[in-house]
Symmetry: C2
Subunit: 225 residues, 2 copies
């Protein structure tokens, strides 16, 4: 099998773990190559400040088999960035897999690429997918044809292992999982709204009010219909 | 409480998820600041090629409350890098927490900072900790006093959440966990040697023979005793 190339789009104020989780899984898979792709080659400052440099730009990036869009606050800006949306629309028809992690799904949606597709995203934005023509679907990893979407942030690791298994088989994915010692033991059971203590969920919702309002606005004025 | 500053050391050929997992947890915690620290401000190329830029150098980095050393192939080089070892030895006495993820523990050990301490590291190097004076201890996150060590790669997320709970309380850690939607669902049960299929483990051990031999050599010639 010839090399499978995945491109992960990075942009200012992304949640870097949305990108670096799948990046590590893909880069650990023999037969895969993974590139970070950005609008420019300037350093990209992730939410919280981590500095990343892209391997390629949207304009000069080589043919890709997989595109993955991560999320984070910067995904709100990406939802209206015609250069990013145009790249996604132009590349989508030639891809083996079109993918996202976290609120990267809103960017795919804003590009008009999730119409009629089952998809998932971060729990705080899950229902908003409907406003972009998608079918919000419960699941940490949701597949609809060649579109794979992962839930919030850390779901990117589960998503990427699932995609590696799809492409290279379960033994290849298990090798990667063993190498990454991925036998998680979260110290609490607070990872979803359904399992988090009520006060923790309430505090998270309060803290997220402005972000939620902003995303509702972006979805409402998206031009995909 | 005044701001708690964590410094994560980055170096060429590190396993970037060892660093970026804890980075995301720390950066998502109100009251924490997290810096990447390297020998120089040149781009750091992680194992597989991801390009990172450090926020500070070993020489100019501000006072730190926490130091975290990630692992990966580049940790072998770090084990003999007197600038990194000297930084760790100089900073250790003033830290609230000295920490590592994956084979970053071998670097702490090579600096002589794990003598008599219970510690963990990536499963493939776990027993080697004894040669550095540590007490190899089973566990995805192992604490001995103010030394916290995480197991392989993805254990860094569990480690960081555990440390956030220690410093800021369980509610703060649960808030971060919910934000990162950390309710993992690994697609396979292959994350440890004990649970991986026998053929997968055998293939991983075969693929790791040279790395294992190299680490044995480095431990044998470490100068800590």
């Amino acid at each position: 099998m010839s090399e499978v190339t995945a491109g992960i789009i990075i942009f200012p104020d992304l949640t870097q773990l949305d990108a670096t989780g799948p990046w590590e899984v893909f880069a650990s898979t023999p037969g895969m190559r993974v590139l970070t792709i950005a609008k420019t080659r300037e350093p990209i400052k992730a939410k919280g400040g981590l500095l990343l440099l892209a391997d390629a730009t949207l304009a000069d990036c080589p043919p890709l088999d997989i595109v993955c869009v991560p999320g984070g606050p910067g995904a709100n800006v990406a939802m209206e960035d015609e250069e990013i949306l145009g790249f996604l629309r132009a590349r989508a028809p030639g891809l083996r897999y079109l993918t996202s992690v976290c609120t990267g799904a809103l960017v795919l949606g804003a590009a008009g690429l999730l119409r009629g597709r089952r998809a998932t995203t971060h729990w705080s934005a899950h229902d908003l997918l409907a406003g972009l023509g998608a079918i919000p679907t419960a699941g940490r990893v949701v597949r609809d044809g060649n579109v794979f979407t992962g839930g919030g942030v850390t779901a990117g690791i589960d998503f990427a292992l699932t995609l590696v298994a799809e492409i290279f088989g379960s033994e290849a994915a298990q090798m990667v999982q063993l190498g990454l010692e991925y036998a998680p033991e979260p110290p609490f059971a607070a990872g979803t709204p359904a399992t988090a203590p009520a006060n923790v969920l309430a505090a998270a919702l309060t803290r997220g009010v402005a972000m939620r309002a902003r995303r509702e606005e972006l979805v409402a004025r998206s031009k995909i219909f």
